[in-house]
Symmetry: C2
Subunit: 421 residues, 2 copies
């Protein structure tokens, strides 16, 4: 993996001179290990179980193209111009009704459109965390979130999950322990549905309780829900936001059910907090792409979204089954994996005493064997003092993404991987 310390130490000439002027926070920047293996994934013959890309093969491209053409020809003067910093009002309205299927009823002044939900996470972190403040997250969690938190010099504290997600009592215990140390715990970042990287879903009967313990302890909940619409059987879980809209900021995404390439997401927050998020967002991109927002609006409102989501959920369900069956068939005895009910990922745990004690070290051999994955360590913060260097968190784990690979290739990929493990 690309290492910031190496990047900094290895600089020469103009780079080295300029880098002496870097802000302190630059030391916390974290290159994405997923993007790191991006180029390897592109090599011919390589089966990539690394990238969590949605499958776009089922998108009606001709139809979307025609829609884009008509929008630009008719509404070009608006969609190619600067737009509102809060986002396209018609799309925000659609988001409001869209969220009702998860039990949320936001009002228009609570919805902030973003250039992707990653940006929502950046803005909420920028708005709430001073250096040294604590952010709680699941252990393991989305590696791109760790990059945001570390970039703002937050202290990341990861709380273990069981097969039903976070345990509210454990979250509360951790908050109390951190507060007892005099730390400021700003928010809990959580992906309740088909989590990245584990595929685990927070049990419905823990949701109210999780929100309650956070609110009682004055810790904001940041709910990230990029996969929630992709339950294999169509189940939509109630959002954490729906339990207490005053205690939860919700991050939504169109990347997984339409297109990541247009970069459109949204966030929901109480009105005045939302206004601050807008001001912070305008400083970053002035406004989200108006054309992109208009295309999403068209895709959603012209009925393409429903059939596409239904079809792709089935596709991902098949692929998930293919990966799990291949694991059953090929993985060394004692290896465990999660059984996701939606989303893009499963999470492998190697048995104690396995040949491979750190999956990261097995990556080059796996690449030689024609398969690539993301090692479990990528999903843990390794910047804290006291990290176990002999067996860092996630060392015996691998994330396998099944979203964008055909079933037979998935089986072959798992078989190649098993050979290395």
């Amino acid at each position: 993996m690309v290492n910031i310390q190496e990047l900094m130490a290895g600089a020469t000439g103009a780079d080295a001179r300029l880098m002496r002027g870097f802000a302190d926070r630059a030391a916390g920047f974290r290159p994405s290990p997923v993007r790191d293996v991006f180029e390897v994934s592109m090599r011919p013959g390589i089966i990539s179980l690394a990238g969590g890309n949605p499958d776009l093969e089922l998108l009606p491209l001709e139809k979307i193209g025609e829609m884009a053409s008509s929008i630009i020809a008719r509404e070009g003067l608006e969609v190619l111009q600067y737009g509102s910093g809060a986002g396209l009002e018609e799309l925000a309205e659609l988001v409001c009704s869209f969220m009702e299927s998860e039990g949320s009823r936001p009002t228009l002044d609570e919805v902030q459109m973003t250039a992707g939900s990653q940006m929502g996470l950046d803005l909420v972190t920028k708005l709430f965390t001073d250096p040294g403040d604590v952010v709680l997250a699941e252990g393991p969690t989305y590696t791109g979130a760790l990059g945001v938190f570390e970039g703002y010099q937050a202290e990341v504290q990861q709380v273990e999950m069981d097969e039903h997600g976070l345990v509210p009592a454990q979250v509360e215990e951790r908050i109390k322990a951190l507060k007892a140390e005099g730390k400021k715990v700003k928010f809990l970042y959580t992906i309740p549905n088909f989590q990245n990287p584990t595929g685990v879903t927070l049990a419905d009967d823990r949701r109210a309780e999780l929100v309650r313990v956070c609110r009682e302890n004055d810790v904001l909940v940041v709910e990230d829900n990029p996969y929630g619409q992709l339950g294999f059987d169509g189940t939509r879980h109630r959002s954490l936001h729906s339990y207490d809209p005053e205690a939860v900021i919700y991050l939504g995404s169109f990347s997984k059910v339409f297109s990541p390439g247009v970069r459109v997401g949204w966030m929901v927050a109480p009105p005045r907090v939302r206004k601050f998020l807008q001001i912070a967002g305008e400083a970053v991109t002035i406004c989200p792409s108006v054309l992109s927002q208009r295309l999403v609006l068209g895709f959603m409102s012209e009925g393409m979204w429903e059939s596409h989501t239904r079809k792709t959920s089935k596709l991902y369900a098949q692929r998930c089954r293919a990966v799990l069956e291949a694991c059953e068939q090929h993985m060394p005895a004692g290896t465990e994996w999660t059984e996701p009910e939606g989303g893009f990922f499963t999470w492998l745990t190697l048995p104690e005493g396995a040949k491979v004690s750190n999956a990261e070290l097995a990556l080059p051999e796996a690449i030689d064997a024609g398969v690539v994955f993301v090692p479990g360590t990528a999903f843990y913060d390794d910047s804290a003092a006291g990290v176990d260097v002999t067996e860092p968190a996630g060392a015996r784990n691998l994330r396998l993404a099944f979203s964008s690979v055909a079933p037979e290739r998935l089986s072959e990929g798992v078989s190649r991987l098993a050979g290395v493990l």
Copy 2:
């Protein structure tokens, strides 16, 4: 104008509770005064001299629509998918050759695509400034830049210009004085061509010297050039970057010569610094919109850019003349204004002893009279201690934007405004 202190103080309920958890930097967030008058500008009958929007009427919308349709139908699997964090390589290559017209010869590994040049400014500020570090800027400067600097808790120091822009000796003097106070001066932010808000252009014979004094004093130059291609007579000035690519980070934009609504810009920096900017950028938006980048690439490479730039430059030249002639005709004796050679703006200075001693206070009356502008105070940092409250910087100034209003409306707008002044 919307005021952060008022927003914070006026909060109740959930907002107030959550806002107690805000980071310190939130107090420096700055709502855009330009965006503030956006809604007023939309009222029927109002002539807006406020917003610096490009005129899109001359864009070949049908043709752009057809291009979009064909791109999505043929390349949808790529352009609707996640893309490289560095940006679309073909577009970065085009940027490299494009910059040759300004004397710069960047290599591909020095080019970072962004979701608009505002994002470039955000990333460079994030990478280089710790709270309390000094950023130098022109006085007055782009209000959206002030928002970025203040959001990262930088201390903004503005250096006056004359009719030929910044005076290198004065910049050096200021740097030395600040260093003598023990301050860290991280970079000079400058818009050398047809500056926002003044329309002033840095004289060519000051450019090498300005870059030299900054480099000698270990101060990075951040060159923002959104208007450089819009000289009224087609003149392209040499970039500051071309004088010393090791000492200048360049910010480029497609917003003014194509479309702000697609949100695409770029930045140029030494290779390893660029890599850090990419990592910082990935934490904000993962990648710039691939579809947007591909549309820009099509617009530029299919020859639409050249004819559009030629036509719009002429249009802006006519409008500039109309505004200046109307000022000549209507403005009170002693009023001064800049005579831009390109771009979107002219800058008015009211005479001492004028009826209106602070243009900000005249804004409501102007709106009643059917015209809106941005008061000069918006382009100065007002967060520093020792700000003169009786006559704050920019109080006797107004920015008039002529880019998106027809000549006869411009004359009428200036006439209405003169009635108030």
